[in-house]
């Protein structure tokens, strides 16, 4: 069993050999990834079932399909993404070649979370591979079956010198962080995010941090309550609430609440039947620690529906809490579970003020048929992403960047953005050796005549053409 030092050294050697530079190599790896997903779907679904009791329907769509789509997107677009970007030239650079070259950083470290243990570690990995890096994956020890499966499968499909999976917990991660990486991509909680960034600072390693937050959801009186209830409930209780962009809490007026709660109750019965614990379509809480944490939050406010728990089964019923106050425990941390608190507000201004009192979340949601309301909330708040009249969808469109801001993180990925995240954009200028008479204008001894010519050709006019010094 190689030590982390040996693994890191092996990958660095492979990177330095230039192996990952060609499109052919990268495409081969990406196609192998696709085969990995196709040929092992059964095993993946089983691992997810063991870790999170994830229903196959959810696993197929949110883990397998999602990852396959990212891979295909990369395969289809790789050549385009790899092309140098030629830039607008100026008067004096007409004979030169100016472009931006995309280069891999080197050896990347990707640390994954446990809630979507396949997708959330493989999606950034695809970006790293497409961009020509070598990479170490460190999947979460909290989802051991999925992580173990990844560590078995990856070496069977991908180049072992360039890519490796290191499993383990705090000890192994700490060891890894002592090595120098050229990029670190972390998905997880804020507290560990800070530890990662501190370790990265030692080596001046750039980082992407995909962290959590309390994603607010404002529900306006103009919306279709039934559709709204369906969409919010779906997003909240998917994966037993363990989704970083699920709506964390709802803000609405008392009047809206009086319609929303019954709609939610109906909807929950539609989704999971009269006894949700018996439904095959509900996952489970990942472990005892989180179960206990969530159980303690159930005492905030009043239970409108749900509230049942079963410790042995790691089950908490889909729960809606009402009469929740800003100071309640359930409002102090990211819930990350099947609990939806509803906080009463008087009007939209109070809702916006409430949202702005808290750290910028990963996502922000508004339900309203009134476009003015949607635009109002959008303009007066900030968040990683935004969606009106639905939740989670902003993550699923690859042409949109996915990432946080402020406490919810830094950096963005998905589709082309993943490729860009793991690439260095190197400004290149290939000058001609000629035109020395013009170059000579800038040399000493300095004369005001030369200065005037340079200034004249250099000056950018307001709303005019771009010129520059030679």
């Amino acid at each position: 069993m190689s030590s982390t030092k040996e693994v890191a050294a092996r990958l660095r050697e492979a990177f330095n050999s230039g192996k990952t530079r060609t499109a052919e190599f990268r495409l081969k790896q990406l196609k192998a990834m696709l085969n990995l997903m196709k040929e092992n779907e059964g095993a993946l679904l089983e691992a997810l079932k063991k870790d999170l009791r994830k229903p196959n329907f959810e696993s197929i769509i949110s883990e397998v399909l999602f990852t396959k789509n990212e891979i295909v997107c990369a395969i289809n677009n790789l050549t385009e993404w790899m092309k140098p970007e030629y830039v607008e030239k100026t008067l004096v650079t007409k004979l030169d070649t100016c472009f931006i070259k995309k280069e891999p950083f080197g050896v990347a470290l990707i640390i994954g979370p446990w809630n979507y243990p396949i997708q959330l570690v493989l999606t950034p990995f695809i970006g790293a591979v497409a961009a020509g890096n070598c990479a170490i994956l460190k999947p979460s020890e909290v989802s051991p079956n999925s992580s173990q499966l990844l560590s078995e499968l990856l070496p069977k499909y991908l180049d072992k010198d360039c890519f490796a999976v290191v499993c383990g917990g705090v000890k192994e991660t700490t060891e890894l962080l002592e090595e120098k990486f050229d990029y670190i991509f972390f998905t997880g909680g804020t507290h560990v995010g800070k530890i990662i960034m501190t370790a990265a600072a030692k080596h001046l390693t750039p980082v992407s941090l995909e962290l959590g937050g309390k994603n607010p959801c404002y529900v306006d009186k103009s919306c279709d309550i039934n559709n709204t209830a369906h969409r919010i409930a779906w997003a909240r209780f998917l994966n037993m609430g363990q989704t970083c962009i699920a709506p964390d809490y709802v803000l609405c007026t008392k009047a809206v609440r009086e319609e929303l709660v019954p709609a939610l109750i109906n909807c929950l019965e539609e989704f999971y039947g009269k006894n949700p614990q018996e439904s095959e379509d509900l996952g489970r809480i990942i472990n005892e620690k989180h179960f206990n944490r969530l159980k303690a939050l159930l005492s905030s406010g009043k239970v409108a529906v749900g509230g049942q728990t079963d410790e042995k089964d790691k089950y908490i019923a889909p729960t809606v809490l009402v009469d929740v106050k800003e100071t309640d425990p359930v409002m102090q941390e990211e819930i990350f579970g099947p609990i939806l608190p509803i906080v009463d507000v008087e009007n939209i201004d109070e809702a916006i003020a409430f949202m702005n009192r808290h750290e910028k979340p990963l996502a922000l949601y508004v339900y309203s048929a009134d476009n003015k309301v949607v635009k109002d909330v959008l303009e007066r708040t900030s968040s990683g992403g935004f969606c009106s009249n639905d939740c989670i969808m902003q993550m699923t469109l690859f042409s949109l960047p996915f990432g946080g801001v402020g406490d919810s993180g830094m950096g963005m990925y998905h589709g082309r953005f993943s490729f860009d995240t793991f690439s260095h954009k190197r400004a290149c200028m290939l000058r001609s050796a000629g035109m020395e008479k013009i170059s000579a204008l800038r040399y000493p001894p300095y004369g005001s005549h030369n200065l005037s010519i340079i200034e004249w050709t250099t000056e950018i006019k307001e709303k005019g053409s771009v010129c520059c010094i030679m």
């Binding site: 369906h230 949109l400 960047p401 190197r426 200028m429 200034e455």
Partner: protein, 440 residues
Amino acid sequence: MLENNESQFLKALQHDLHKPKFEALLSEIAVIKNEAIYAANNLEEWMEPEYVEKTLSTALDECYVLKEPLGVVLVIGHWSFPLQLCLIPFIGAVSAGNCVVVRPSETASNTAELLQNLLPKYLDNECYHVIYGGHKDAQNDLSDLLQHKFDHVFYTGDATTGKLVMQAATKFLTPVTLVLAGKNPCYIDRNCDIYMAARRIAWARFVNAGQNLLAPDYVLCHADVHDKLLKELYTCVTEFYGEAPEKSPDFGRLVSIEHYQKLKELLGCGKLFIGGKSDEGIKYIAPTILLDVKENDPIMEKDIFGPVLPIIKVCALEEAINIIRKREKPLAVYVYSSNFKVISEVMSRTSSGCFCSNDSGMQNMFLTLPFGGVGGSGMGCCHGKYGFDTFSHRRACILRNIGIECVTYLRYPPYVDKNLSLILWASSLSRRSSGWCQIS
């Protein structure tokens, strides 16, 4: 502000760095003015939301990326180009809609003081502020400042302080941009216009008395053209600064005694070819070229940042590339050659913030190219639109319709195979046509 107070700025730069008026006007004043006008010309376009390609399921939605300011940002300048290195990122931050705290380098005290006096007269005092503590303990000052929460920190300077800045930023999960000095190598190939190369290299090395992040730090010269290069360098240094450069009005001075002393120590490496004269009283070190420098000499340990150019003789391109690759990725890599294959080889087998062939120091003057480092030379970039982007958050937005429920129901429990098949089918359809897809 720049136009109305040009002469005052020039005077301050003279006092701080003995910066010749020609250099100050072009490399400080003109460059900043261009950046500001470019931003003003393009601001509306940059601020517009970017509509993105949609898929089957989002066909009826509005999908776009909104650019938002980050909040209150901190720009820390550097003394080598005390105006440009804090005002150019400042312009990026302002155009992106942020409030900005600017901390010019206290080492260039005259310029910093002037900026502190003038900025409030031209810009909104509630939104923009210059912090200048005078000539106190710089590092402690900076640590104190970084105890406060900023939404982005932009730092230009050395790697050691860069690490401290990033470390401090961790407290609030503040993203950082670091532009750090490094050793920029310059390879001279045996197929090369030596006359041109000597002039461009000498200009780039000795401008601002060598105190330039993008200056070629050391030369790797092919043995075949080594002697020719020396001859041309000798000629052009004399052409530029005369027989007694300390008398030339066109040659700068070192910013401080401390910096002067650090550089003086390096003069003992290798063999002196040109220059070597120094005068502590006027913080002057002559334009100096050192030969027969070895890879492990003290002068090769960290960035020189002064008017001293070591030349290392190499026998082949391969040797040069190996020397470059052994070190931290610098801010720039330069190659002088008339053989495109050589240029291509160096470009593809090295990495750096930026790259330029057959010239030095020019590539950051273009607003359409990003200016920034990689690895040991930093992270992030600025100039032109890149400045605007650095200080913006790109917020992904989807505006959906609440009335239409015809497709969304497919994803709800109770989960049935029929719905799953439909979703998978729709997904593969999108994939074939547009190259990617998403869950519906």
